[in-house]
C-alpha cells in the first residue's frame, strides 16, 4: 500500500454576481484609500503651514520648569 496524492483541482469559475461583488469591494477599498490619502495630504499641508507658528508660540509660552529662574 502506498501513500496517495491529493488530486489535481480544476479551479471553479466565478459567477457574474461573484465577480461583481469582488469588483464592488475593490472599488470601495480604492475609493476609501484615495480619501484617506487625500486627508493625510491635507493634514500634512496644514501641519507645515502651522509649524512655524507653533515654534514662535512655544517661545512665548511660559516654561514651568524655568519659571522660577
Amino acid at each position: 500500500m502506498s501513500p496517495i496524492f491529493c488530486k489535481p483541482k480544476l479551479i471553479p469559475l466565478k459567477t457574474i454576481t461573484m465577480e461583481k461583488l469582488e469588483k464592488m469591494q475593490q472599488d470601495a477599498i480604492e475609493k476609501l484609500k484615495a480619501l484617506e490619502e487625500a486627508e493625510e495630504a491635507e493634514q500634512k499641508a496644514s501641519k507645515q503651514s502651522n509649524a512655524p507658528e507653533d515654534e514662535s508660540k512655544s517661545e512665548n509660552e511660559t516654561n514651568i520648569w524655568k519659571a522660577d529662574e
Binding site: 491529493c6 469559475l13 464592488m24 476609501l32
Partner: protein, 500 residues
C-alpha cells in the same frame, strides 16, 4: 453630441440612463438639482443611478458570515438525516467520490463555479477561522457579502461630503406613499445605504398604500431577512401575481433555514407555472449539487443548456463533472466553448490547460498553464501552482513538482493539498519525520481531506504504531467511508488487535 445638446436636460439624463452611462446620467441629474433642488424626477433618477452602481442580485447573494454559521438561531432541525440538510450531504453519492473528485473546505465535491453562497459543514469555530478560502466555496472568515460592503463604506466612498439623502431628516411617510418615488427610494435605501430598518419602514407604508395588491412591495418586504415573515409575504405575493423571482426567493429562504427539500418543492412549483425558466432551474441544480446529488444536478444543467446555450455556470459545471468522470477530452470541449464566448481569465486557462494535459495534448497544455500563471490573481495563485506541480509530477520532474508545491504554500500557507503532496515527496526521499510533519500540518489546515489521515495511518502502520494507525484510518473512513484501501488497512490492524 451636437444634436443631443438640443435635448431637454432631463430627457438627456434619461437617455443616458437607458444607455447605461450611469456616471454621466448622475452628473446631469446633479446639474438639474443644482438649478432646482425640488425637481422630483431628477431626484429619483439620481437615486436610481446611485443604486445601480451597488446593485446586486439578492437572489444570488447568499453569503453567510461566521457569526450566523456558528450562532445560528434559524435552523429548524439541528440533527438532520443525511440528504435532508446541507450540513449532511450524501457523501456516498455517485459522482461525488473524493478519490476522483476533490472536495471543498466545506466537504462538498468541487463545483464548476463559485457562487456567493456558503453553507459549511458543522465544524468547530476554531477550524473555520483557521481554514482559509482557498477551496473557493468555503466561507471567508469575515463576511464579505454585498450587504457588508454596503454597510458604512458604500455611501461614504461614493460621496465624501455625506450621503445624498439624509435619511434621518427625510419625511419617510410622505415619500413612501408617493408611487412615483417610493420604489427608487426603497432601492436606494436598501442597496446603497444598507439601512434595512428604514427600508422596511418604506416598504411597509408603500404596501399599505397599494392596498396590499402590489406583488413588488410584498417581495421587497420578504427580502429584508426576516425569515418567518418573509414566507407569508411571498405566498401572499404569489396570490397577487405569479412571478419567477417570488418562487426563487421562497426557495432561498428555505435554503437559508437549511431545509433544502422544501426549497426543492418550491422550485418545482415554480417550474409548473414557468416551464424551463433559467433562474428556477439554476436554483434547483445548485441545491441538488449541494446535497451531493451530482447526477441530478448535471441533468438539470443540461436542461438549462438546452434552453440557454450560453449559460456559463451550466457549461462549467458539466465540464467539471466530465473531467472528474475521467473524460477530460469532453470537458475540454465545454471549456473551449466558454473561451469562445469571450471569457478570458486565469481560472479558465488553467482548466483548459489541465484538460489538454490529461488528454495528451502537451504542447497546448503548457502554453495554457503559462498563460494562467501570467494572468493569475492573488486568490488563485496557490491553486495554479498546485496544479502546475501535478503536471510536473506527471512528467516525472519531481524537483520541479516539489518547487511548485512550495510556491503554492508561499502563496497560501494553508494549502492543505500541497502540504500533503509535499509530504509524499519527502517520504520518497526517505525523510520520514519531515513527511509526517507535513501530513500532520495538512490535516490541521485542511480537515476535509482524507488523504493526510490515510498517509499517516500507513506510516504509523509501517512503524508498528498500531494504535495511532487505527485512529488515523478511522478518521480517514469518517471522511470517506467507501475508501477501499482504508478499509483494508483497518481490517489488517483490527486483526492484529484481536490476535492479542
Amino acid at each position: 453630441m451636437e444634436s443631443s445638446k438640443k435635448f431637454d436636460v432631463l430627457f438627456r439624463a434619461l437617455k443616458l440612463y437607458n444607455q447605461n452611462e450611469i456616471d454621466k446620467c448622475e452628473e446631469e441629474c446633479t446639474k438639474i438639482l443644482q438649478k432646482n433642488p425640488l425637481d422630483q424626477a431628477a431626484w429619483t433618477l439620481k437615486l436610481s443611478c446611485l443604486t445601480e452602481s451597488l446593485y446586486i442580485d439578492e437572489l444570488d447573494n447568499n453569503d453567510v458570515g461566521i457569526a450566523e454559521t456558528f450562532l445560528e438561531q434559524n435552523v429548524i432541525a439541528p440533527n438532520a438525516r443525511p440528504g435532508t440538510s446541507f450540513n449532511r450531504p450524501l457523501t456516498s453519492a455517485r459522482g461525488a467520490n473524493p478519490l476522483l473528485r476533490p472536495t471543498t473546505n466545506a466537504g462538498r465535491p468541487l463545483s464548476g463555479v463559485v457562487r456567493p453562497m456558503t453553507t459549511a459543514r458543522p465544524g468547530t469555530m476554531d477550524q473555520a477561522v483557521r481554514t482559509s478560502r482557498t477551496a473557493k466555496t468555503a466561507r471567508a472568515v469575515t463576511s464579505s457579502s454585498a450587504r457588508f460592503v454596503r454597510l458604512g463604506t458604500a455611501s461614504m466612498a461614493s460621496n465624501p461630503d455625506g450621503p445624498f439623502v439624509n435619511l434621518a431628516r427625510l419625511n419617510i411617510e410622505k415619500y413612501a406613499k408617493d408611487a412615483q418615488v417610493n420604489r427608487q427610494l426603497f432601492e436606494y435605501v436598501f442597496y446603497h445605504e444598507g439601512d434595512v430598518k428604514t427600508a422596511h419602514q418604506i416598504a411597509a407604508i408603500a404596501t399599505k398604500e397599494a392596498e396590499f395588491n402590489d406583488w413588488y412591495w410584498k417581495n421587497q418586504l420578504g427580502k429584508l431577512g426576516m425569515f418567518q415573515d418573509a414566507e407569508k409575504q411571498f405566498l401572499s405575493s404569489l396570490k397577487t401575481m405569479k412571478m419567477v423571482e417570488t418562487y426563487a426567493y421562497l426557495a432561498k429562504i428555505y435554503n437559508r433555514l437549511d431545509q433544502p427539500l422544501v426549497a426543492i418543492k418550491y422550485y418545482e412549483e415554480g417550474l409548473e407555472s414557468f416551464k424551463n425558466d433559467i433562474t428556477i432551474l439554476t436554483g434547483l441544480a445548485r441545491v441538488n449539487e449541494q446535497l451531493g446529488k451530482i447526477d441530478e444536478s448535471i441533468e438539470l444543467y443540461k436542461e438549462i443548456l438546452a434552453v440557454q446555450a450560453n449559460n456559463v455556470e451550466a457549461i462549467a459545471c458539466i465540464a467539471t463533472n466530465y473531467f472528474y468522470s475521467d473524460l477530460p477530452e469532453i470537458a475540454l470541449r465545454y471549456y473551449r466553448r466558454i473561451m469562445q464566448m469571450g471569457v478570458n481569465n486565469a481560472e479558465l486557462f488553467l482548466n483548459v490547460g489541465l484538460c489538454c494535459f490529461f488528454c495528451q495534448q502537451f504542447d497546448l497544455a503548457i502554453a495554457c498553464i503559462e498563460r494562467a500563471h501570467a494572468t493569475a490573481t492573488e486568490d488563485i495563485q496557490a491553486d495554479v501552482w498546485y496544479n502546475t506541480g501535478h503536471v510536473a509530477l506527471s512528467i516525472g520532474d519531481v524537483k520541479m513538482a516539489d518547487r511548485c508545491f512550495q510556491l503554492a504554500l508561499t502563496a497560501d500557507q494553508d494549502h492543505g493539498e500541497s502540504l500533503c503532496n509535499l509530504g509524499i515527496l519527502r517520504l520518497r526521499e526517505g525523510k520520514i519525520d519531515q513527511a509526517k510533519s507535513f501530513f500532520h500540518n495538512a490535516k490541521g489546515k485542511a480537515p476535509h481531506l482524507f488523504e493526510p489521515y490515510f498517509n499517516l495511518a500507513i506510516l504509523a502502520n509501517q512503524a508498528g504504531q498500531y494504535s495511532e494507525a487505527l485512529i488515523n484510518v478511522n478518521k480517514s473512513l469518517e471522511i470517506f467511508p467507501e475508501h477501499v484501501h482504508s478499509q483494508t488497512l483497518k481490517r489488517h490492524i483490527t486483526i492484529l488487535y484481536t490476535m492479542l
